[in-house]
């Protein structure tokens, strides 16, 4: 084909002329402008709706801290959580989790309706059912067990023991006929046992850190989320202002250690021994408060026992701390006007060794700070829930009289109120059918938070019927048969008794800020409905028409002020006589053979990683450093000088197999001089399998790598680490 000149030219001039004509018309200019305006208003970029702004006060239930919240609303949307000014716990401050609470409220992890399992257990396949169907099914299963005389095989795991909702659950179990109400134990439980043994009373500890002038912390993560986090942050800042000395005893340099005036890297697990070493010097040199201790029960025996066994030179090998350090520490501690010693590792998630708690508490007693300003306050357990005892029918009487599955309160474990850590083994070692035939779980995620998660999941598989009240699709909800979703925090009304080491505890009222977003039901109402469905004396034990009515009645004259201020003061301190101890308690050592496992693995807590019942929010995970999480891989911190055998060289970012007697996981190495050589520091709070794409599948759950270590004294879990090794990843 030959392009004729004519065609060529006419096409050419058409194109050129057309282009020139279009360019001279307003069209391209208008179009250019319109297109830029379009990019400024892309329909897929959300435009938050404007409206009336209001603030609603409430109390945070995302951790036991009990902070007051001030929630900003625009119309019916909650748009920002801020700290409540004037609240005794946090006075306007707020932690990172509380700040991101709206992501839980509005997040994709919410369970939106009652669900019934359709797939295999744990597969996460559910179908939506109505509340009537869900409650009827649960009541039918529970009714059948009761009819078979197996009421004592029903257990309940509650996130906490205090407050009306846990108490309603406990009441349901009692009226139904089971003694197996369990709460998730924390250092508060270890402290409760300590106070029972050393003062002979049921009480909670309060730490008057605001008025202390010397703080000796045995591994407590003061700014890692220990106690009520915001309150501790504030205390820490006040110490900085007042130049109050904080001494942190901890093998790794935690944030707390970095802020402390002095950091003493004692060998992991030797904190209790070190505390008694300090006690030794105080007693030897007569530095203790004689007026407080002389004549106290068991004091002379204690003095002799400590003198014989805990001389600083004798404990140097166990603690790795020089005699001189212990001596000067004891002198400084004793010389302070109001010194305080704290314990409970990290955030205090795991109760810890009874020996250690008692040793540290003995230091407080020697310093004479019990019920003194700046010292340890002894506070009675809350008493505002004063319901009449439920009337028990024959089945219930028989059921509640049977021994608890976890052994709490038995002869072996007389002081413990519940020993959730013992439950998985109790189920797994039982012959024949599981001793737990039905399990209720409220505000707890045992399938993630309990040590040796693999065993926990195996135990769960043996329980025929599991009911979860979770607001979120967590690991335990995923392993349930029926989910009866609770309203989320900020949707529900609930009393929040807050102890958490406060020197002046409060009872808070978490008020609903917005209407429930989904087809959920308050667990209090669900429990009342279940009781009503079970009928007879069980129903009679729950005379309230709704949870709100129950709460109102329970709080009585506190109701109004709580509604107004969101908090009231709890009980005053009680008299606490001193009782010293001498019984030989054993330190809890890390499980595993030293030769086979040259390292010690220690989980560490970070305020940026929620590690309890509440999973991390997207914002929280966003703040996790890339030295902890890279893509979906977790980094464990190791000192570059750690000896780890010939075959492996430690390099930043290197992929290795981390193996413990409980399991193994592929992780990456982060070299850090902040970690004691020979220790592997593993973040707590990663490795979720449930939740959403913002959390699931990121990193490894450290609880899968460590097993529970039952404390010989209390029966509580006292695990702080496990022996471990690193090896090359096999290709």
């Amino acid at each position: 084909m030959k392009v004729s000149r004519r065609t060529f030219l006419s096409i050419g001039s058409f194109i050129v002329g057309g282009a020139a004509g279009t360019a001279l018309s307003p069209l391209p200019w208008k179009l250019t402008d319109d297109l830029s305006i379009w990019t400024q208003n892309w329909p897929w970029t959300p435009k938050p709706e404007r409206g009336d702004v209001s603030y609603v006060n409430s109390v945070c239930t995302l951790c036991p801290g009990g902070c007051g919240l001030s929630v900003r609303k625009v119309n019916d949307r909650a748009v920002k959580i801020e700290g409540m000014k004037g609240h005794p716990v946090n006075d306007g401050g707020i932690c990172i989790l509380g700040l991101s609470g709206l992501q839980l409220l509005y997040g994709p992890t919410r369970v939106k309706t009652p669900l019934k399992r359709v797939g295999e257990r744990g597969q996460g396949k559910f179908k939506k059912i109505s509340w009537d169907e869900a409650l009827a099914e649960a009541a039918e299963k529970l009714g059948a067990l009761r009819a078979e005389g197996k009421s004592h095989t029903v257990a309940c795991i509650s996130g906490s023991a205090g407050g009306t909702v846990p108490q309603l659950l406990k009441r349901l179990l009692t009226a139904y006929g089971s003694p197996n109400f369990m709460s998730v134990p924390t250092m508060q439980d270890a402290y409760a046992v300590t106070l029972k043994q050393m003062h002979g009373i049921d009480a909670c500890p309060g730490f008057d850190v605001e008025n202390a002038d010397f703080v000796l912390s045995f591994g407590s993560g003061i700014i890692e989320g220990w106690g009520s986090p915001v309150r501790m942050f504030k205390a820490n800042s006040a110490w900085q202002d007042k130049k109050i000395k904080v001494v942190q005893i901890e093998s790794n340099k935690s944030n707390t250690a970095a802020k402390a005036a002095k950091w003493i890297p004692a060998r992991p697990g030797s904190e209790g021994v070190l505390a008694l070493g300090i006690a030794h010097v105080m007693l030897r040199d007569g530095l203790y408060k004689k007026e407080a201790c002389d004549g106290a029960a068991g004091f002379e025996d204690f003095k002799k026992w400590v003198a014989d066994n805990y001389a600083p030179e004798n404990i140097a090998a166990a603690t790795g701390i020089q005699k001189e350090t212990v001596e000067s520490l004891a002198k400084e501690f004793a010389a302070a006007a109001s010194p305080i010693a704290l314990c409970g590792r990290g955030q205090g998630r795991t109760p810890g060794s009874q020996y250690e708690f008692m040793a540290v508490h003995a230091l407080n007693m020697l310093a004479g700070n019990i019920n003194k300003a700046g010292g340890v306050q002894i506070i009675p357990e809350p008493k505002y829930i004063a319901w009449t005892e439920p009337e028990l029918d024959e089945i219930a009487q028989k059921g509640t009289a049977s021994p608890r599955i976890d052994g709490a309160g038995s002869e072996t474990y007389p002081h413990a109120k519940s020993l959730l850590n013992r439950l998985p083994q109790a189920i797994l070692t039982a012959e024949g059918a599981s001793p737990v035939q039905a399990l209720l779980i409220s505000e707890a995620n045992p399938c993630y938070t309990l040590s040796d998660t693999q065993a926990v999941k195996k135990a769960f598989a043996k329980i025929p019927f599991v009911v979860s009240f979770s607001s979120y699709m967590d690991e335990s909800a995923q392993n349930a048969d029926i989910i009866l979703p609770n309203h989320a925090c900020l949707e529900r009304l609930e009393d929040v008794p807050t102890f958490a080491g406060l020197s002046k505890p409060v009872i808070g009222l978490s008020k609903p800020v917005i209407k429930p977003q989904f087809d959920t039901k308050h667990t209090g109402d669900a429990v009342i409905a279940l009781a009503k469905a079970l009928g007879d004396k069980i129903a009679a034990a729950f005379p309230w028409e709704s949870y709100e009515a129950c709460l109102k009645e329970t709080l009585g004259d506190k109701w109004e002020i709580l509604n107004e201020k969101c908090f009231v003061a709890a009980e005053e301190n009680i008299e606490a006589p001193l009782q010293f101890f001498t019984q030989e308690c054993k330190t809890v050592s890390a499980e595993g053979d030293e030769k086979q496992y040259p390292f010690v693995l220690m989980p560490y807590d970070s305020i940026r990683l929620a590690n309890g019942f509440i999973g991390n929010t997207p914002f929280l995970t966003k703040t996790v450093p890339d030295t902890v999480l890279k893509k979906n891989e977790m980094l464990v911190a190791v000192n570059p000088k750690s000896a780890c055998g010939d075959s492996l060289s430690l390099k930043e970012g290197r992929s290795v197999m981390l193996t413990t007697p409980k399991g193994s996981a592929k992780v990456r190495v982060h070299l850090s001089e902040e970690i004691m050589p020979g220790v592997i520091a593993v973040p707590r709070g990663l490795g979720h399998t449930a939740y959403d794409k913002y959390l699931a599948g990121k990193g490894v759950n450290c609880n899968e790598l460590i097993g529970p270590a039952e404390d010989a004294g209390s029966g509580l879990d006292a695990v702080w680490g496990i022996r471990a090794k690193l090896s090359n990843v096999s290709i």
Binding site: M1, K2, T39
Partner: protein, 412 residues
């Protein structure tokens, strides 16, 4: 088939061969277009750029092609303003290469910005203090000039030229080309300079920052100078490649040698200035901000002192020495080596002034981060190359680009 469009008196390859050439290069072009569309539709997450590398391969490519396209303005300057008449034999090609380089630069910029549909804000909401504004204005204007310079060439196509209007238009445009060349040269001096100013004014980035006169940092002048020196080298290089590909001599040696000589002296003076600038920066400017020279070249896996040696000595001093000596220019190998080194040198300079500026940590507790472009970035950078090759192919085939071709390659 297309013989009617081919200039008279020259020989061109068969249409089939030409179509195969177009097909192969066109495929590469399409790959680039695909990547370009990905970047426009899905956004710049398609690249490996990040908040530390806000400027990366594309900005480097922009700076490099504009420096290399500098042959157009400087040859035009020499031909029309200084009056080096011999250069008329290469000016067409210089203009074509310049046109390709500048249109490519504009295209890359349109891909590089996060909101291409708002790109015109740079004119509408112009901030006169920004070097980039200066770049955008001069670049667009000069692109217009280059189009005007290229247009008469198109009109010289055998068929178009037969139209009396086009013939006269083309003739008249040639008459006034000096005016455009002068405008182009003026604009170029500015935007080449302002491109140098882009990193030179960053007083928060001690690696790029330079002192200077009035509002212009030294890099302003160095960039213009280096573009004037190395742009013609690129024109020579592309001419040599075209000659190799077409297996024909297209431009006489004396023309090339003249251009090479001027380039050589430009390069020699430039490199002296560059060394002085580096010395002053290393001993005065950077230390005043707390940096030793070697702080910029250590503790990272890539940016070592070798870069300085390669840029200044091997790709600066060496080609300058070759080009300023007559024997160097006369030796085909030496000349080729020199222009290649000069082209690498100026490209490396632009790389360093973009990428290393980004890479050097400024906060003492920050770290070096390395960058490697994604395939989408590479494809969109190759896209203009493919487009340039096609445009050169078409222009060479249908337009009388090389006035000396007929004389050098008589058809028997």
């Amino acid at each position: 088939m297309d013989s009617a469009l081919i200039p008279e008196g020259v020989k061109r390859c068969s249409p089939a061969k030409f179509l195969i050439f177009l097909g192969v290069v066109g495929a590469v072009l399409l790959w680039g277009v695909f990547a370009m569309l990905l970047c426009w539709i899905k956004g710049l997450n398609q690249t490996n750029m990040n908040d530390y590398y806000g400027f990366a391969l594309w900005i480097w490519a922009d700076l490099a092609v504009i420096a290399l396209g500098g042959g157009a303005f400087f040859t035009g300057f020499l031909r029309y303003i200084i009056g080096k008449d011999e250069l008329k034999n290469i000016i067409n090609y210089a203009v074509l290469i310049g046109f390709i380089c500048y249109s490519s630069a504009l295209l890359i910029l349109a891909i590089d910005i996060g909101q291409p549909l708002r790109g015109w804000f740079i004119f509408w909401h112009a901030n006169v203090h920004s070097m980039l504004t200066e770049v955008a204005f001069c670049l667009s204007c000069y692109f217009g000039v280059l189009t005007i310079e290229y247009l008469p060439l198109i009109l010289e196509n055998r068929q178009l030229d037969r139209v009396p209007f086009f013939h006269n238009l083309s003739h008249n445009m040639h008459e006034i080309m000096a005016v455009f060349a002068a405008t182009g040269a003026f604009l170029s001096f500015f935007h080449q300079g302002s491109l140098g100013g882009v990193s030179g004014v960053l007083f928060g980035r001690p690696f790029g920052y330079r002192e200077g006169v009035f509002i212009w940092p030294w890099t302003f002048f160095l960039f213009t100078w280096s573009a004037a020196a190395c742009g013609p080298c690129f024109t020579i290089l592309i001419t040599k490649i075209t000659e190799k590909v077409t297996q024909k001599k297209l431009v006489k040696d004396n023309v090339i040698e003249l251009l090479a000589k001027i380039s050589g002296w430009m390069l020699a003076t430039y490199i002296i200035a560059k060394i002085l600038d580096t010395w002053y920066w290393a001993s005065v400017t950077a230390p005043s901000k707390g940096f030793w020279l070697l702080d910029f070249y250590s503790n990272n896996p890539f940016y070592g002192p070798w870069i300085l040696v390669l840029e200044v000595i091997i790709c600066g001093v060496l080609p300058a020495l070759i080009l300023i000596t007559e024997s160097g220019r006369k030796s085909k190998t030496a000349l080729l080596l020199a222009v290649i080194l000069a082209v690498i040198g100026v490209s490396l300079n632009r790389w360093v002034m973009v990428l290393q500026v980004m890479a050097v940590p400024v906060m003492p507790f920050d770290s070096w981060y390395m960058y490697f472009p994604s395939w989408q970035e590479i494809a969109t950078t190759v896209l203009p190359v493919a487009y340039g090759v096609i445009l050169i192919g078409l222009s060479h085939r249908y337009l009388p680009i090389f006035p000396q071709e007929k004389e050098l390659n008589p058809i028997d």
